[in-house]
Amino acid sequence: MKKNRILLLMGVLLVAAMIISACTATSGDIQQAVEQVAPTLQAAAQEVAPTLQAAAQEVAPTLEAAVQEVAPTVAAAATQVAGGSESSFEPMVVAAPDCDYGGLFKEIAAIDELTVQFSMCAPDPAFPSKAAFSPFAILPSEYLESTGGSGELLEHPIGTGPYMFQNWSRGEELVMVKNPNYWGDAANADTLVFRWQTESAARLLELQSGTVDGIDNPAPDDFATIANDPNLQILDRAALNVFYVGMNNKFAPFDNEKVRQAIAMGIDRQRIVDHFYPPGSEVASHFTPCVIPNGCAGEEWYEFNPEAARALLAEAGFPDGFETEIAYRDVVRGYLPDPNIVAQDIQAQLAENLNIKATINVMESGAFLEASDAGRLTGLHLLGWGADYPDMTNFLDYHFGAGASDQFGAKFPDLTKILSEAASLSTDEARAPLYEQANNLIKQYVPMVPVAHGGSGAAYLATVKNAHVSPLGNEMFASMDSGKDSFVWMQNAEPISLYCADETDGESLRACEQMTESLLAYEIGGTAVKPSLATACTANEDLTVWTCNLREGITFHDGSALDANDVVMSYVVQWDAANPLHVGNTGAFSYFSALWGGFLNAPPSEE
């Protein structure tokens, strides 16, 4: 041992000696080099001097002017800093040059640290409902900037909610921990775990064995089993959704209105609801459920009439039917509790009633949504919609409005006009005649066939207190109490990303909603809007300017304080397509475009 130490010491000494000698050698070299270069440098300096002087003289007045201009602002800021209030807050303002870009926002401005003002191009009575929606959650502006609007942002949300992100093992689970500094009622469980399982039988097994505290969407056939089990409770979710058979009018033969009408008449929707939906479901008389104000204005949907449908199809030039495809994703949603079975029944009905031979194409969920949004599904597609907020705009504008995707192909100008007109009216009574027209137009054009408003449910262990289901699908687990340190929730699928501004999938939104918050919020288990980050959002008389006052003393999970600029930034990165942070997961920001009319600086469309 001793020998080793001595050897080590000698080694260190040797190395030190080498370094010292190297340094002295170098310093000598440098001195030499400087002496060599000096004359050249001097000559160069003499040469440059006149030019530099001239440049300085030229710049001087401009500089002086600039200084004079800035001086008052600096002085004001200095006094502010000295006074100790409004420390270094520079209100952020983003405005559209005019309203011709087609969207609703004209300007989003921070007035002071706790006040944000949204100026609209048209009256927007649905503003509070939209502002409460989770894609418009407020994130720290610094965090948005540091992530560049993507990457880490998709995996690790920083918000203000009752739970904070801890860990997301892709494919396994998402773990959140209680936010100790939450401004509202603190969460009951210390840890919230999200797990997922596409098989309803497996979800139920997990609940029965007690490894999870709650599951989403039990299979229709299992409702009775759960109700009869004293250890479990089942809660019915109101049917605030719609399941439809979509068609894209850009592809033959669906470019023919008569073909679409024939399909509308040729599917026995009652049979589907009676046999494949749980209790609490109803046949869709309109695209929107009747619970939503004006939802059922206008004529009821076509009666099932196979003879008339066949005649119409013959008139359209397809007396012997045609071949097509039924695309869907094998994912259970409240609006579609048994996708495979329903798809096969529709397939059988089309063959029997209309002689339409449809092949079934089961697609991966993300790919299916992407293809349908981009208008690439050439045949029929099975999709649905769950309400995000209980307003007609959430259903009709998203699907058929000017900002809607290409899901159903070319838009119908008269329909989009009526919808934007209706959206700008302030009361449901005033909107009624317009929505009556809109619903009638939808019936005439048949961009899709609304089939059902599906009842669904969630099941919990009987010991879970405050268990609830939300008609909007945003259950708040912070308020539930399982009596344990952790609460485990099992849903149908894994979140796609956790930057919900760029997600439309309910499974992603529900996860985001535990961690991030919007200006306003929906009441737990209901649809009414209540204050959240903003104590109130008030409008001017004609509903074109909405002013939101932020709650004081709210901090984000990273410790930074919430201010008006965070609000402006969170909206602007979605609104302004030219913003460098307008990146997201796919960059679609579908909700923003659909609900607020469109993007600022949107790139010219490809058509």
Binding site: E199, S200, A201, L204, L205, A219, D221, D222, T225, R271, H275, F276, D330, D338, N340, I341, A343, Q344, D345, Q347, A348, T359, I360, N361, V362
Partner: protein
């Protein structure tokens, strides 16, 4: 006197005894195949497999007669049945006023028994077609490879080794994903993937047969390479191939069911057993008959081919040729 024997052709002569009369090739065929059959049917397990197979083939051929319903027809509004109703057999006490469904009704109100019967057609044809394709291509490649040797052998076998290096089902999934889901594509994928197995078996037996004396004799008599390979070597290299192919049918059926289960094989409403299992997999507790019967059907079909294949292997085992005939192990 001299005209007496001449007009009588040899073929019309009554065979005096099988072993002695006829030409040489007749003699060989009779002895080998008859012996094999005799040995095969002496094994009880092979007989069970054969009987199962006869039943399966029978139900595939006579499906329209056996099946009481159209396998793709939902019975909504046609009969008073409930969704995923359990089996109702009149003989076992099901009330006679209820329609009889031996294996119950599925989630789309279709008769499961009819679907299982029609499914036999699909599974058997899948098994036979894929294996025939793979055997044809595999044998050809293997024979050429084994007979030619050298560079050709090396090239063919290395390419096939690459195919073999991939996990079987994974490669099938990859192929189907590229070609698009569907029964035909699934069959093609499985056939392509099975080629190396048959090529290797053929090559191995070609290699051993090629060195035998009678090949040497043929060559000395001036037979061409083609004649020797396809006329002499291949027929003698067949026995191991038959065994592997019979067992391969079972694997092919199982793999097709697996591909259908993950949605890449038969598409609804085709009554394919794997897809029937897949669609009702969530009802394993609430309506077990919907997964039990298709599962059972797959099992019996695979079992039939496996038993028969095992029996054939024992029957064709050259070590038992001079023995008592029955496999003892």
């Amino acid at each position: 006197m001299s005209t007496m024997p001449e007009p009588t052709p040899i073929a019309t002569l009554p065979p005096l005894d099988d072993a002695g009369a006829g030409d040489i090739s007749d003699y060989r065929a009779n002895s080998l195949w008859r012996l094999t059959m005799r040995r095969l049917f002496r094994q009880r397990s092979a007989v069970v497999g054969f009987i199962l197979l006869v039943i399966l083939v029978g139900s595939a051929i006579f499906a329209p007669i056996i099946a009481p319903y159209n396998p793709e027809q939902p019975l909504i509004g046609i009969e008073n049945v409930t969704k995923r109703q359990g089996p109702c057999i009149h003989l076992l006490g099901c009330p006679p006023d209820k329609p009889q469904h031996i294996m119950g009704v599925d989630g789309n109100f279709r008769d499961v028994f009819s679907r299982i019967i029609y499914g036999t057609r699909i599974s058997l044809s899948v098994g036979l077609l894929t294996v025939s394709f793979a055997v044809l291509v595999g044998t050809f490649l293997g024979a050429i490879s084994g007979y030619a040797g050298g560079l050709i052998d090396n090239i063919i076998m290395r390419v096939l080794d690459v195919v073999l290096a991939f996990p079987f089902l994974l490669l099938a999934i990859a192929i189907v994903s590229v070609l698009g889901p569907g029964l035909t594509n699934a069959m093609l994928a499985i056939a392509v993937i099975s080629i190396p197995t048959y090529a290797r078996v053929t090559r191995a037996s070609v290699l051993s047969v090629r060195e035998m004396d009678f090949i040497e004799a043929s060559r000395a008599l001036g037979a061409s390479s083609r004649q020797i390979l396809f006329g002499r070597i291949l027929p003698n290299a067949l026995p191991p191939l038959i065994v592997v192919a019979t067992l391969g049918i079972a694997t092919a059926i199982l793999d097709t069911a697996a591909l259908s289960f993950i949605g890449l094989g038969a598409q609804p409403p085709t009554p394919e057993w794997g897809s029937m299992l897949a669609i009702e997999r969530n009802q394993v507790f609430s309506a077990p008959h919907l997964v039990f019967f298709p599962g059972l059907a797959i099992m019996f079909t695979v079992l039939a081919f496996n038993l028969l294949g095992d029996g054939l292997r024992d029957a064709l085992d050259p070590r038992l040729v001079h023995g008592s005939g029955a496999a003892k192990e």
